[in-house]
Symmetry: C2
Subunit: 336 residues, 2 copies
DNA sequence: CTGAAAGCGCTTACAG
DNA sequence: CTGAAAGCGCTTACAG
């Protein structure tokens, strides 16, 4: 391919070759400061031809910027939400790259923020995006204490935190409302991790929907923090005893197990039991019957989160909370 | 939390406060060069107390290093191999961090290496790890042309490329050998993407095993490049016509579909048909019957790849090819 | 054992 | 419109 034996060019090399000053070269590249049209074009042409690329570190040091953003990816993933994070990450990366930023990746658990601290203390990033939030969130607490720009993907109750999220509460309210309108007045809920803010929002949406039509909420048919198969099966059994009309699952992994359990018990979906899920991932996409669910655009979420962060870094003011849309996709599993 | 209103300390601040030179402070931190024990401890204590952290960019510029490694994550993931990459990434990150490096993440497709080029040209990384290889691999070609340290996770046929991989060929040979020893002489193969080097290695292992016992390989029962459900179902039908004893799947997503298809056709596993998979991910972990498969340690793969890269970056010579182990886990799906 | 000075490759007031 | 010079925060020969 290319010849790579030539040493890397520096701005001085370019300046010397062209008989101009480094200042001029710098200005031609950045577009900042007054510079003659001819001069600029001459510089640009030379740079193009000789494939000169500025050293990002030197630039960063001079401007006290890094042109990196830190992205915090949850380490304790599950098969279900991983594709979500990956897609969201693609959105973040695209946006970052388009603004000439790179992504410094770090992984962490709910209770450990040493990686994050390290990244920030070493001055390696200009800002960070947190890909998940917790009700008690040490990452947010740390970032706030450091006065470094950051945005969260997902909602939080901490004050003055810039956040981007899908409107899970409304989405959930709408799905449940539709189900209630179908005269399914006994809707069970399974799944979700209580310490995740998103779970709280969804529960709130569930309550909202019930309040709207005056149907009382029955705590006995809500099962949070059940993730393992056995727990889920037990929950399904209880829901059957309680004679619910419909089971709504907080995520698709849970839904998968619910469907398996119902199959084992020979309960037909949707005839004897309706089923819906709060998220549509590929694991359910070929299920028979097809499953009613909410769907969100993870990539857009990443894009918006990253754009927002860039705005903050560049000193602009931004909306404190951006809520993105959702879709309710009604399929066979909730047909009357 | 901490008070963050104080400006960030620099090495000059520390030097001044202690009445020593910047040189001395620098030496105390890095441990390089002669320095008095007392002096060093005094500096270290001060640094500790005032929470001074060197600016990584400045350090990098002075040493012409970035203390970043680029990691190339495939963008065109599937639900199946994503957990593998994520786990591998954890291994890479842990190792990098332990050597005080950070990870610059970039995503790419088989045919597009603009992100990689950008990262390298901007001097943002000291080396890169490629998380996937292709038989014709433009990323490898580019990296070779730039003479920048890099290692691949996964094997490649390109010359002089440092690579870390599981021994897929041997693993596959062993699994197939065991099946052949069980008198299953008609073993069908489904899945895999032909342009992935790993697929080639596995096919080779399949052939090796047959050669060992002198059973001829029948090309009619090998179906590569079938990923979609319909394609898989059709392949299964053909394999049934060919009266194979056993179906080996190149990955778990394929295996899932194969199992569903067999269920539909009311073919009992393992009684009427044995089934095995080349990878054990969580999507199959609760299947009944349990599925015989190969298993690899993705995290270790990441760790070793990253360690190897660090060695190269630091100028040490390393083994050209490192092959990591595997396990064959025999379960119900291949019981006679 | 310690320090003054030059240098890494950029940017940016300031002066002309 | 252009340039000389100082500076970003470190490291590292070189000299003492």
């Amino acid at each position: 391919m290319e010849q790579s034996n030539e040493k890397k060019l520096t701005i001085s090399d370019v300046a010397e070759a062209l008989g101009v000053s480094k200042t001029t070269v710098s200005r031609a590249i950045s577009g900042k400061g007054r510079i003659g049209k001819n001069t600029r074009e001459r510089v640009l042409a030379y740079i193009q031809e000789h494939n000169y690329k500025p050293n990002a570190m030197a630039k960063g040091l001079a401007q006290l910027k890094t042109y990196n953003i830190g992205v915090m990816l949850p380490e304790d993933y599950t098969v279900v939400d991983l594709p979500f994070f990956q897609t969201c990450l693609i959105g973040i990366e695209e946006t970052a790259v388009s603004m000439d930023y790179d992504i410094l990746l770090t992984m962490s658990r709910e209770s450990d923020c040493t990686q994050l601290v390290r990244m920030v203390e070493n001055h390696k990033v200009d800002g960070v995006v947190l890909m998940r939030t917790f009700t008690k969130d040490i990452h947010i607490e740390y970032l706030k204490s450091q006065a470094i720009p950051f945005v969260t993907v997902g909602s939080t109750n901490y004050q003055d935190v810039i956040q981007v999220d899908n409107d899970h509460r409304s989405a959930c309210r709408e799905l449940i409302s539709i189900l209630l309108m179908k005269k399914l007045s006994h809707i069970g809920l399974i799944g979700g991790i209580e310490s995740h803010v998103v779970t709280q929002n969804r529960l709130q949406g569930y309550i909202d929907a019930h309040d709207q039509v005056g149907v009382p909420v029955n705590q006995d048919i809500i099962f949070v923090n059940v993730q393992k198969e056995i727990m889920i099966e037990r929950a399904v059994e209880k829901l059957m005893q309680e004679q619910v009309d419909c089971i709504v699952c907080l995520d698709d992994a849970v839904c998968m197990h619910v469907l398996n359990k119902l199959r084992k018990e020979e309960v037909a979906v949707p005839n004897q039991m309706k089923v819906a899920s709060f998220y549509d991932s590929s694991i359910l996409e070929n299920n028979l019957p097809s499953i009613t669910s909410l769907s969100f655009n993870a990539r857009e979420l990443g894009t918006v989160a990253c754009k927002t962060l860039m705005e903050i870094i560049e000193g602009h003011t931004v909306k404190q909370r951006t809520l993105l849309g959702y879709e309710v996709t009604l399929k066979e599993s909730t047909m009357l």
